[in-house]
Amino acid sequence: MKFYFFHLMPYAHLDLSYTEKYETSWVKLPNTYYDREKGHALYNRYLDELEYADTLGFDGIGCNEHHQTAYGMMPSPIVIASALSRRTKNAKILILGSAIPLRENPLWLAEEHAMIDTITGGRLITGFVRGIGAEYHATGVNPIYSHDRFHEAHDLIIRAWTEPGPFRFAGKHYHFDYVNLWPRPYQQPHPPIWIPSQGSQETIEWASHPDRKYTYLQTFSPASAVARFLKMYRDQAEKYGYEASGDQLGWAIPVYVAETDEIAKREARPHIEAFRNKFAKMPFEMLLPPGYLSMGSMKRVAAAKAGMSMDMTLELLDEQGMFIVGSAATVRERLAEAQKQIGFNHLLPLLQFGTLPHELTIKNAKMFAEQVMPHLRPLGEAKTKAKAAAE
């Protein structure tokens, strides 16, 4: 198994009583809640945490993209990945992901990713996402074209990375007379591509296609949903006529490790509950604007999310497998069990979440790296090797 320290960079100083006046920390929460000095300190703290993870032996460090929200201060993951590219030496740098349909010019994005890949000598792992529904309110991009633009921008970026230029590109949403990238990516044919998703059949069918075989990453979902969607990927690969490897599957989940189960729960409680109930809080109309999902999916999700706006306690998050918390032994056991059942090779623990302060983040990262990681590392690999031997 491989481990990636993933950060969301929340505005951890958010006045949590904002919920008395506003229904969400996204798009409509006034940015007067943001303090520039605190922001300055937070960015530097979070970059320190990501750099520290490199020294702890994580295989990679990751950032992502969200707009106009206290949930994450990374409207541009490019800036964070760039800042990390010269300060780290070993870890892969993961952009999980760039919201490609939100870009008016996806070629800029292809250029930026190629630059980071080249500067780091091939340490970039690229991720492509559509952005969540709120992003379509924040940017004005029409959610009706979200899927279309995602696929068209993807095709354009891949062609720009792999085909000799200059060439022409004429799509519905993007048109360029000259596609001729300088620099071309360092990794050949292009950086690995991961697809983070909250789970959809369309995305899985597309990511697992033999032309792509992109690593599918299930994010912040109950363990049962993770198992279902990762199995869906394996089944889909089988339908395509090949066997998916564990390297094509990943799971991102908040994790907190401490000396004992009790200490872990006590230390994590306010911060994980703030993450779920304050930072991720969003009305349905903002999360799922018309067109973001196909009408069939929208109906299913609307039915499934009927009770979604309810606040959740640490116990409920733990029970649902949306948060892994406890002593190193407990966390090892939970993760080993999940790995055995689900068979993923990439784990992206979110070791800072919500309001979790720096000292606890560092302690959590260190304990995870020293007392959890080494025990779990052989799991996926052993299975892969065994399979290879059998073949």
Partner: protein, 260 residues
């Protein structure tokens, strides 16, 4: 007599169509909520006009054609529709999104029109007068903000749609996003060409419209040469629904005025 919905094929796009009444032709273009059925204001108008009520491409039982991206596309479609039906001297009427469509049609070509009536149309942007964000409103906020009389909103909210009706509402909401998400409920080019509308134009507004504030009535009137404004008091965004009698009276009177 309530009209029943049939389907008509216009250059490969099948749409729903209701038609009843006699007299001069009146073409009604519906708003964002679609036209599920023949409504009381339609019944009343059909007593004086040959009322033609198509369901826009993308809405209700109609196809969602690949060419449909903008309200301008819809306007060209209805020019084709008018040609196919061989209509002339039309009283063109549109509500909200349909009003915007009627205006886009009229800046392109008025040769088949006799008059134009628009109820609380969107389509224009006054920078300091925001239009309500219907895409951010939940179903209850939508009902409450669309009508002035909250008892009417209560009645609307008390109706639980069947699954088939809910599917149509979702389809209509998707069609609305396709046409009006960005720019949000307006076309930056529309105001450049409103001066081209050369038929008598009637701008009808609910004084208490919370979606498109009544300030827009005067803004449209300034840009459309031969236009008149009627403001209906104690009325929200849907005067034809909320104040059916008042609406039908002023709308019909305008169309039937003797003009030199």
């Amino acid at each position: 007599m309530p009209a029943t919905k049939t389907k008509i094929d216009v250059r490969g796009t099948k749409i729903g169509l209701m038609r009843a009444g006699k007299g001069a032709p009146m073409l009604y273009l519906h708003g964002a909520a679609g036209v599920a059925q023949w409504l009381p204001f339609m019944e009343k108008l059909s007593e004086r006009f040959d009322l033609i009520v198509p369901e826009h491409p993308g809405f209700g039982v109609s196809d969602t054609p690949a060419w449909l991206d903008t309200v301008g596309d819809l306007a060209f479609f209805y020019l084709d529709f008018i040609k196919q039906l061989g209509l002339n001297d039309i009283h063109l009427v549109g509500s909200s999104l349909g009003g915007w469509t009627a205006l886009e049609l009229a800046i392109r070509d008025t040769h088949a029109l006799k008059t134009l009536t628009v109820n609380c149309p969107v389509g224009l942007r006054i920078p300091d007068v925001p239009v309500g964000d219907i895409f951010m409103w939940n179903p209850e906020q939508r009902a409450r903000n669309l009508v002035h009389d909250q008892r009417l909103a209560d009645q609307m909210l008390a109706v639980v749609p069947s699954e088939a009706e809910a599917d149509v509402l979702m389809k209509n909401h998707y069609a609305l996003a396709r046409l009006a998400w960005q720019p949000r409920f307006f076309d930056p080019d529309l105001e450049k060409w409103l001066h081209r509308i050369d038929v008598p134009t009637h701008i009808v507004w609910g004084r208490d419209d919370k979606l498109v504030p009544v300030a827009y009535a005067q803004a449209f009137a300034k840009l459309i040469p031969n236009s008149r404004v009627t403001i209906i008091p104690d009325c929200g965004h849907l005067p034809h629904i909320e104040k059916t009698d008042d609406y039908v009276r002023v709308a019909a009177a305008f169309c039937q005025e003797r003009r030199p």
